[in-house]
Assembly symmetry: C2
Homo-oligomer: 458 residues x 2
Amino acid sequence: MCIKREIPLGHFQARSQQLPALPRRALSTGLAPKEEPEASVPAAMLRRQLLAWPAWLFRGPPGPRGACALGADGRPVGPLARRGCCSAPGTPEVPLTRERYPVRRLPFSTVSEQDLAAFERIVPGGVVTDPEALQAPNVDWMRTLRGSSKVLLRPRTSEEVSHILRHCHERNLAVNPQGGNTGMVGGSVPVFDEIILSTARMNQVLSFHSVSGILVCQAGCVLEELSRYVEERDFIMPLDLGAKGSCHIGGNVATNAGGLRFLRYGSLRGTVLGLEVVLADGTILDCLTSLRKDNTGYDLKQLFIGSEGTLGVITAVSILCPPKPRAVNVAFLGCPGFAEVLQTFSTCKGMLGEILSAFEFMDAVCMQLVGRHLHLASPVQESAFYVLIETSGSNAGHDAEKLGSFLEHALGSGLVTDGTMATDQTKVKVPHVLLAGPLSVRQVQPCLGMPGRVIGAA
Amino acid sequence: MCIKREIPLGHFQARSQQLPALPRRALSTGLAPKEEPEASVPAAMLRRQLLAWPAWLFRGPPGPRGACALGADGRPVGPLARRGCCSAPGTPEVPLTRERYPVRRLPFSTVSEQDLAAFERIVPGGVVTDPEALQAPNVDWMRTLRGSSKVLLRPRTSEEVSHILRHCHERNLAVNPQGGNTGMVGGSVPVFDEIILSTARMNQVLSFHSVSGILVCQAGCVLEELSRYVEERDFIMPLDLGAKGSCHIGGNVATNAGGLRFLRYGSLRGTVLGLEVVLADGTILDCLTSLRKDNTGYDLKQLFIGSEGTLGVITAVSILCPPKPRAVNVAFLGCPGFAEVLQTFSTCKGMLGEILSAFEFMDAVCMQLVGRHLHLASPVQESAFYVLIETSGSNAGHDAEKLGSFLEHALGSGLVTDGTMATDQTKVKVPHVLLAGPLSVRQVQPCLGMPGRVIGAA
């Protein structure tokens, strides 16, 4: 049970109050080519996603790829190849947020030499003040926002986080918690000179129960590393998303991330069983239960899921991991209209039932953009809409049979006019794309430009 | 988005502060036979559960069943047959809670004639003051607690609830929300003379989306009626529990009920998408979204899930219903030890994967109690532990094959020494048992005393 009222909010800046909504044209700065005014938003998004996609994708159809060339190992290289390399010579500097938007700094104190000495005592060797090292954590992943923080702290334990926040509370210093800094809405970087509190060194798995699949870990664990850890034990993480190679589980929970497995395993509100949170005044709130259902008192941890660090800093997470599926199939289909997309969804929910793990759709314009910017040809006939269906199950034969029956029905009844299916698990591995990008290109490439089985053409 | 701070708590009595934990012997009052001091708790529990079980169960082995005889239609009749009939002549009166426990009435006002007139204006024809009619809502289902409320109000709309609570707030009158009054911990009945606010007439389905399976309904809808409603549309409710014939969905949410489908479909924190709640001062908090994931602002509705009416009265619910499974199988197995129970759980999670919908275990003593009190013989060899496994899937053939493979493996490796399996859906229908009862008898009877297929004996 964890009940605590009157949570102090003072030292956490509510970003939504400080930042106005980004104008659409803001996305055209940074990497977006100026010469494509109409298509600048998707072009910028697509190009960024491209960098995160797996190497095998690029072995497909040939064609120009702009600044993103491939190295000898098949991985993208060059100035756009890795995050953080974008500020190479010639790349324009990201403008300061405070100069770009009409935001007002609240009356917080500024960091003094005494504060730095106190931080050094709390986290020896974990105080970063080098301007060079502070460049990256001051800029968001979209390169549209830049803060001017002078200090980054790298605690290893909840107690250290508690001491830091208590000190900041007493000194009226603003704090900006930061996980993997992969957010798309600027929530992970300071607006002014807030102290950046990084969870990067809080990356220990605390326990894993091999029967129940319950993982307890520190907030700074990288999602992909957790995935690898539990997959070795025949489980999977209940969420998966494009930024998994960098994002932290604490940040996933703080932003209530959805991701590729949402349809199958539901939201973090159901799979996160417990949290440890440090409040602004340094109080450690221990809700780190690992019960499947804990009805003892109000479920305060829910308040922190999706609160984006405004109520406290998540320092540890208890999460329920589902068993690892043994078979994964992907089908990519063409639909004649939106009514058929909806009907296809209803039908596959009924016929695929428990093995349906993803359902996405895109329209013809999206497919044209995929062709134009990714130089990938559609493997199915031109259609008004396209649908991607993924199944995950425990028996490859059963799953293929269910998917086959469904596809036969869908083709026979005119819901679907064309399609292709991939059953090779290595080929259908969900790519490292960014979920906050356009829905339509989220999962399309497993079926594009790869060897698939054409299942029919009406 | 719904953000409201400083929720007034004044007029909702926090039960946990008023009621001490029930002493274990308290359960032996009422219906429990005094001559069974050691076994009195399970005996009382079992006898009460007996009343709620389906009629076909009683057609099994013959034998005395105490006061619970069967009528011509196969349904239990007699003094114990129905709730509310227990106060027949000769049945001892339930003692008043305030006389039984050292509880203190807080300084609330008492209901006056003017209050009654005001209530009559707010809910014409919905004010109950007849002492006879107030007997049942003053007593809890376990018949261990009794309040002395003089007024029961039956609103039909959220606005009526709002007007009632605003009046009570101004008049400093205590209120006790009540749904189906099926709770096992006394949370649904008054301790003193609180006004009982019944949701019984708030029983309208507001909308159902046949593609997404999202149901929006008033809080007073009976769970079983909602189940019937969505099953006609090829969906099921994400929760199912023994009291479903009486319990209200609002009460299910207010108590964060788990139930028989918890293992498969998770907790209400994941499946409840939105709530409408009336706070103590009459404010209507509209969080009745039907988005699968709504990250706009803090998810305040989560605070009300499991808050047992102490923060506000839930008046409407938006809930995600999964597709109806087409095949259900149940296996009842004997395990030689607890280590094998755990190993069986891990193995069946891996081999049955997505179709596993329930896993329960009981020990040998529980089985003896089932035999002694329910007069049902175990269909498998005597074992140290027994396991019940339920599968629900979209393809009967695939499910049976998966279950068969698992059972073959479990028997071959010595995890299981004996077992029986039922594949007839009419026989394995999850019984109306009370989940708050002993875990071990929760789901056992689908396999007891019924025609099953013996799958092996090691």
